[in-house]
């Protein structure tokens, strides 16, 4: 930006930006630090930023004594599964909206996006009913399906914004050279759209990983992922803050790390394509 910014003012802004960043990151940092403390040191007053005796015991205990590994596995299966299934439906749909638009395409997009904004509670009861009757309740298959359904509008929207950036002429040229429709989508479009598909995947895995409403309402124990596991530590009391922090750290670490190494995709995904 061509705004006149003096060095002095820039320093002030930089300090302010760091302070805000620290403030925003503090709760997360605190969780991570606490996960390495003993239970007594975790609730010490005055609080100890760094504990005198570091320990990995909390992790060992959470991993060994609870069903944590099963919850973790459920989370992985549900988020990856729903993402892949969603892409399977979304890629053709986004292709058709981006490259063969009709006069209904814009309506369809708006309509689809607005479903994502509707309160999920509005479809809770019919969903619950169908899940109970069909035996999908508290199964991984059921959750994969449910989360795919809920995130499908966002996946399609994201893919659409990425596909829009691919010049249609390239596809046109391939078609002129005799590529069939299948070849066109599979060998021309998909490779070119890999970055877009990858960041859509990242976004959807994050959304599915964090999903709490459907995972809490549609599971009891068998298929419950991490979010349900952590939620079961409801109203935490001082006795097991360190263990809760260890479980929490394990639950957010994949997202923190994945997000850090794909910052651009993370930002674009989380803002639904608004930030390029």
């Amino acid at each position: 930006m061509a705004r006149a910014v003096t060095t002095q003012r820039k320093l002030v802004y930089t300090i302010a930006a760091w302070s805000v960043a620290l403030l925003i990151f503090f709760p997360v940092l605190w969780t991570i630090l606490t996960s390495f403390k003993t239970e007594t040191s975790a609730v010490a007053n005055p609080p100890e930023l760094l504990s005198a005796d570091w320990t990995l015991e909390n992790y060992a205990e959470v991993w060994g004594r609870t069903d944590y590994p099963r919850f973790f596995l459920n989370s992985v299966i549900i988020s990856v599964g729903s993402t892949l299934l969603g892409l399977l439906i979304a890629i053709p749909a986004a292709w058709s909206m981006a490259f063969v638009p009709s006069n209904k395409t814009k309506d369809l997009l708006m309509w689809m996006l607005s479903t994502k904004m509707m309160p999920a509670a509005a479809v809770l009861i019919p969903m619950y009913l169908i899940f109970q009757r069909t035996g999908l309740f508290d199964t991984r298959t059921g959750l994969v399906l449910a989360l795919m359904l809920m995130n499908l509008p966002v996946i399609i929207w994201m893919l659409y914004t990425y596909f829009k950036e691919i010049p249609g002429e390239i596809l046109e040229a391939a078609r002129m050279d005799g590529a069939s429709l299948r070849d066109e989508v599979l060998y021309i479009l998909t490779p070119m759209a890999i970055p877009g598909i990858a960041s859509t995947m990242l976004l959807n895995i994050i959304l599915a990983w964090n999903e709490a409403f459907w995972t809490i309402t549609l599971t009891t124990t068998k298929a419950a992922p991490l979010s349900a596991f952590i939620a079961s530590f409801s109203a935490p009391q001082g006795l097991f803050y360190a263990k809760l922090s260890a479980a929490s750290t394990m639950a957010i670490a994949p997202i923190l790390i994945l997000g850090w190494f794909s910052q651009k995709q993370l930002v674009r995904g989380l803002t639904f394509g608004a930030v390029k």
């Binding site: 930006m1 925003i24 997360v28 479903t115 619950y128 009757r133 923190l256 997000g259």
Partner: protein
């Protein structure tokens, strides 16, 4: 256009989007309609949709009447006293809680988000890093981070205990256990979660403003803050509206924040509509359905103007 086989192409494009359209129709439209329709009946156990069941069970607005007479949903005794001395603006229950949360969280996170975006717009180094850190709260599971917030605002183990230990004995921040303050505790966490997101969208909006506007404003000697407030902000209207709709839709269906921080407590002081629907539907199906419908209507009031705005804009672009 000379496309080989345009008919085939159009047909395949229809086929390609068919699964998506079907899903949206069945799940979202179908499920929503089912909820709305059966909210007018007195069904007690979960039925599969049959028209006869609907006709036999039709009770009109009875569920809504019961819902709004339930203190857990809405308890506003003072409303009848508007205009008199006894009037006090204080409502309890899931619906007023959501309204309080939405109003405060939307206003504050949008204001802070805009200020942060303006700050980030000053060519700060490592902008990408800051943007990522500011967005982290939005990317992390609130079930997880909610526990930290509950901890910070718990009277025994949180900030209150720490500050009192330092000597400020009357410091009070144990909001999680305080009926009157618990919704504000949730608002703070909500702002923490949403501000980075608002910032990212607003920053994108700021970057979309033509550089010449800034040059012109500088030539005219308009101070930067006035340029932001009186020229840039009005130009960002589409971004503001979209941000508002996304943040508002999140606020209307707020759930995981409440579950992680208070689970609706103390008592039911921080209950919200989504939680109400879920915790009530086995015992009070009719009320749950009408509560869902009230949420839908609330959201429709926010969404419909937005769709018309977005839609109208795109039509002009043709």
């Amino acid at each position: 256009m000379d496309r080989p086989n345009p008919l085939f192409r159009n047909l395949s494009s229809k086929l390609a989007s068919a699964p998506m359209v079907l899903i949206v129709l069945c799940v979202f439209v179908g499920g929503t309609l089912w909820t709305i329709l059966f909210s007018f009946t007195n069904i007690k156990i979960l039925p599969i949709f049959t028209p006869s069941e609907w006709v036999n069970g039709f009770v009109g607005f009875a569920n809504y009447e019961r819902l709004f007479n339930t203190d857990r949903w809405m308890n506003c005794p003072a409303i009848t006293k508007i205009g008199t001395e006894a009037w006090k603006f204080k409502c309890a229950g899931a619906m007023p809680n959501m309204v309080t949360f939405a109003l405060l969280a939307i206003t504050i996170s949008m204001t802070l988000g805009f200020l942060l975006a303006v700050m980030m717009d000053q060519k700060i180094r490592l902008e990408g890093v800051f943007r990522t850190i500011y967005l982290y709260p939005f990317a992390l599971s609130f079930i997880v981070t909610g526990h930290v917030w509950a901890w910070i605002m718990s009277p025994e183990y949180g900030l209150q205990a720490a500050v009192r230990k330092l000597g400020w004995e009357s410091f009070s921040f144990g909001w999680i256990a305080d009926r009157d303050m618990v919704m504000y505790a949730i608002v703070i966490a909500g702002i923490w979660q949403g501000t980075g997101f608002v910032m990212a969208l607003m920053l994108a909006g700021l970057r979309g403003i033509d550089e010449d506007i800034w040059k012109a404003a500088r030539v005219d000697g308009i101070p930067a803050w006035r340029t932001y407030l009186q020229i840039v902000l009005p130009m960002m209207k589409p971004v503001l509206v979209t941000t508002f709709v996304i943040v508002a839709s999140g606020a209307v269906r707020v759930y995981d924040l409440v579950v992680a921080m208070t689970d609706g407590g103390p008592g039911i002081a921080s209950d919200v509509p989504t939680r109400y629907v879920y915790t009530n539907f086995s015992a009070n199906l009719g009320q749950s359905l009408s509560a869902s419908t009230v949420m839908l209507v609330t959201m429709a009031f926010i969404l419909i103007p937005w769709i018309r705005l977005e839609f109208g804009k795109k039509e002009q672009g043709h």
